[in-house]
Symmetry: C2
Subunit: 253 residues, 2 copies
């Protein structure tokens, strides 16, 4: 693995009317964000969800591509008329939208000559010069062109493909995180957290998240940093402040 | 209710590091999209998820505000240091960020003089000229300024507030939808769906979504339109095509 010494960011572009209509609850954003963070030290900087409309895909993929080291798209690479991701990305980067020879052969082998109809062949079409992301679940590969990686929308298939994607991504500095949960309401501890955040401004991100679980009201404080020593020191500061307030600290939430 | 005779769109801006880190799976996008669609005929055109960074909130809220009739933001209106939505939106619209008298009084009454500390008071600060969205769960109101509506991130609280938001939104044309589920794979029916989509291009959106449930593989076809007659006619076309292919049609999926 290459040396982790810098900040690497990714944007996620979710392509699909079914997410915007509310019909489907997205599961891929959270999975990809955790996977990128934990395995590669890549931070997701922004997510956009757009409909199956070519112009919207083109504008947003170009915008995210300029601002981030990587863009991961999900959805729209299947065989039906509403799967327009590969064609749209070709247009965005002014590449020819054409058959990828290896992808064509993978699909031909998977379906057999007799069943390799036009919709299935379409899944081998992508921007010229794309690298393939192999798909161990259902053959149809994802692809990478420039800094954009196109993955399917079905969560189980997407999950099965990320191991084959790893080789194309340069890792960033590892991001460490620690959680502290306590039985209180946010406004009781807001001042202390603000003081801690000011003290560690350059090194640690402190997040505060109220929860209501199993009849208990509480706050989870999540602290994140690429500097392990500062993170532990910030953790100590917060725990000390909570103890001074006589608040109980939970484990495992 | 006002007459529903036009296309009304909304953008959603999710504000929160916890969604971008993958720690929290967003539940509000799907809820808001369904609620806007089903109750008001308002279509969600785009969603963006941004971190708790003022400049990012400002840029994205202005961009979505220009392109849509409404923008709904979620998250960042609590009492802690990372709750910067109200301040950022004030900056975006060049409004003073100050106490809203009614909001202040609501919170004062809720907490009582003795417990009304600075973090709690902060929840009464918002852009000058905001209208309040009352909060029956935990008092702290949301607000509307220009065409932007700011709601909390905690799903149960957000859900309890949308009835109080309805009065501020002009409804659009009702969007009808029908689903057809069948036991096949997408590439088997892609050609037929494409023909149907071309036939009803101007009136109906046809979406195709593979599923894997209870050991069954299938496709859900979702058709949507503001024109009920065309929707039913398109439904007939698709059912006829599936029957010709001898495919079984499921109910209730």
């Amino acid at each position: 693995m290459k040396k982790r010494n810098k900040k690497i960011t990714a944007g996620i572009l979710v392509i699909g009317n079914e997410i915007l209509s509310g019909r489907t609850i997205d599961q891929n954003i959270s999975f990809l964000a955790l996977w990128l963070n934990n395995n590669l030290g890549i931070k997701v900087s922004e997510v956009r969800i757009v409909p199956d409309i070519e112009s919207k895909i083109v504008t947003n993929v170009l915008s995210l591509s300029k601002k981030n080291n990587y863009v991961l798209t999900t959805g729209g690479i299947g065989p039906t008329h509403d799967d327009i991701t590969a064609k749209s990305i070709s247009k965005a980067f002014k590449k020819k939208y054409t058959y990828h020879k290896e992808a064509y052969n993978i699909l031909l082998k998977y379906y057999g000559h007799k069943n390799f109809n036009d919709p299935r062949k379409k899944m081998a079409k992508m921007p010229t010069g794309s690298k393939l992301i192999y798909n161990p679940s259902s053959a149809a590969p994802g692809f990478m062109i420039k800094n954009v990686i196109c993955l399917p929308g079905v969560p189980s298939i997407l999950k099965s493909m990320v191991d084959n994607l790893k080789q194309y991504l340069v890792p960033g500095s590892k991001i460490y995180s620690l959680s502290i949960s306590t039985q209180t309401i946010e406004s009781n501890i807001a001042n202390g957290l603000e003081i801690a955040q000011k003290k560690y401004r350059k090194f640690v991100d402190i997040g505060s998240y109220p929860f209501f679980r199993l009849g208990k009201i509480g706050v989870s404080i999540v602290i994140r940093s690429s500097n392990k020593t500062r993170l532990q020191s910030c953790h100590k500061t917060i725990v000390k402040f909570l103890k001074k307030k006589k608040l109980k600290i939970f484990k495992g939430i």
